[in-house]
Amino acid sequence: MKITKDDIEYIADVAMLYLNEEKKEHYTEELNVVLNQIAKLGELDTKDVEPTVHILPLKNVWREDKIEPSLDSEQVFMNTENGEEGFFRVPKIIED
């Protein structure tokens, strides 16, 4: 598989990243190197290997269904300048 500049532009677009021409060229080249490395794994015979569901050797890390106190209002809005009457102010999204 070969990554083209179109692919890079598409990925940047859905991830909402702005890339200039120089960066686009750079990532096209770099991602191709990375993917070629990964493609090497495809050469291995994995016929008898169970698929990996998850990379961590842990399972069922969960807690009981108990409520703990939430943040107070002052803490909730501590990191924003966009609080308004208990809400966060955000740009309007027009859907139709």
Partner: protein, 476 residues
Amino acid sequence: MEYEAVIGLEVHAELLTDSKIFCSCASKFGGAPNTHCCPGCLAMPGTLPILNKHAVELGIKAALALNCEILPYSRFDRKNYFYPDLPKAYQISQNDFPLAVNGYINIETEQGIKKIGIKRAHLEEDAGKLIHSEHGDYSLVDFNRSGAPLIEIVSEPDLNTPREAWLYLTKLKSILEYTEVSDCKMQEGSLRCDANVSIRAKGSEKLGTKTELKNMNSFRAIERALEYEIERQKRVLEKGEEVIQETRRWDDARGITITMRTKEEAADYRYFPDPDLPPIVIEKDFIEEVRSKIPELSHERKERYIREFGLPEYDAGVLTDSKKLSDFFEECVNKYPDAKKVSNWIMVELLAILNAEGKEIEDISLTPDNLVKMLNMIDKGTISGKIAKTVFREMLDTGKDPSKIVEEKGLVQLSDEDELEKIVDIVLNENQQSVDDYKNGKDRAFGFLVGQVMKATRGKANPKIVNKLLREKIDG
């Protein structure tokens, strides 16, 4: 050409846990905006999700009640998209390894039982709530729902009519309510449904291009939106044009679906495993433990009501449609064993009022205790069946004890024979014509006389005694 619709439904139901799915904030509906939030709910850097075990239990419970296969391994993935109600810019969901697959539910159509497949059921977190500000060019967000636990239930495209979609949803809601997995309140958003619909020539195997419908706020709206969309697609095809794959929004007031303008051509969620959450491994014992907690479901209750109480099938069906109504009925029957009488009051009086006023049993003040008290008062002759209707209405509105209502309104039944005899004499004197008619064989005249006595006592006379006195006086 004759067409056939192919419909699949995606239902989201909020799970009835106390806390959220990945943090310990309260998950209950309502509350002042942004008061059920922790750094996790707000996606502060460095926060980590920890799974709520009860959410997994409820998910398994629902999946078992929907006849699904529970997958031994399941995993959480990140669904990436940008929207202001999603502070992490990804939703934790399950993509490749859902909690459960391959279930079904049976619906009762006019043509008989139809099995509707369930493709998958998986757990995910809810997003916040966007409110469009009236002043200014911006929106407001409340993150109280952010991280509330959801189960998404995806049907197979086995539904062929809007009516079948309605039947499927009604059955699914009943199962989720009976198992106490969700309270399924559409008006509070704890049950939501999107629909996929396409049409094809009847008998054809090939699927047509589908559209996705959003923004339906009731089961009736879903049925109407599907009816509209199927007709729209027919018109498109008959004009020789093609149906475009797109998402359309239902406009309930205008009764039409409208294309939603979407920025990106196709959604690309770039799912990948969430490294913050280890997989869920479900052992057989755990499944069996959850299975043992599944209560009697609606169709089982219905059969029991027919068998044990001798109720007609229709009545048993109506009583068990909603779990809350069915629970109410059972509580009454526990205290007042004449199930048919209880059923009658619920079927005739209660449901007439609820339907007329668009209410549910939980919206009114009537308690099983008070209904039972009232039935006992009728049996003892304290009030007549007719007066009971007045008392019943008052109990519905105020939740007052029936004996208190009777006392306050002076509704006690008049059973004193001497007093009733005086009234009967007056009525007979004033209605000689009816007395003669009755003697000449006109039975209806007797009923008229009883009515006159009831009228004179404003409905309080004991009808049994009135009947007896009238017969004694006329027949001699």
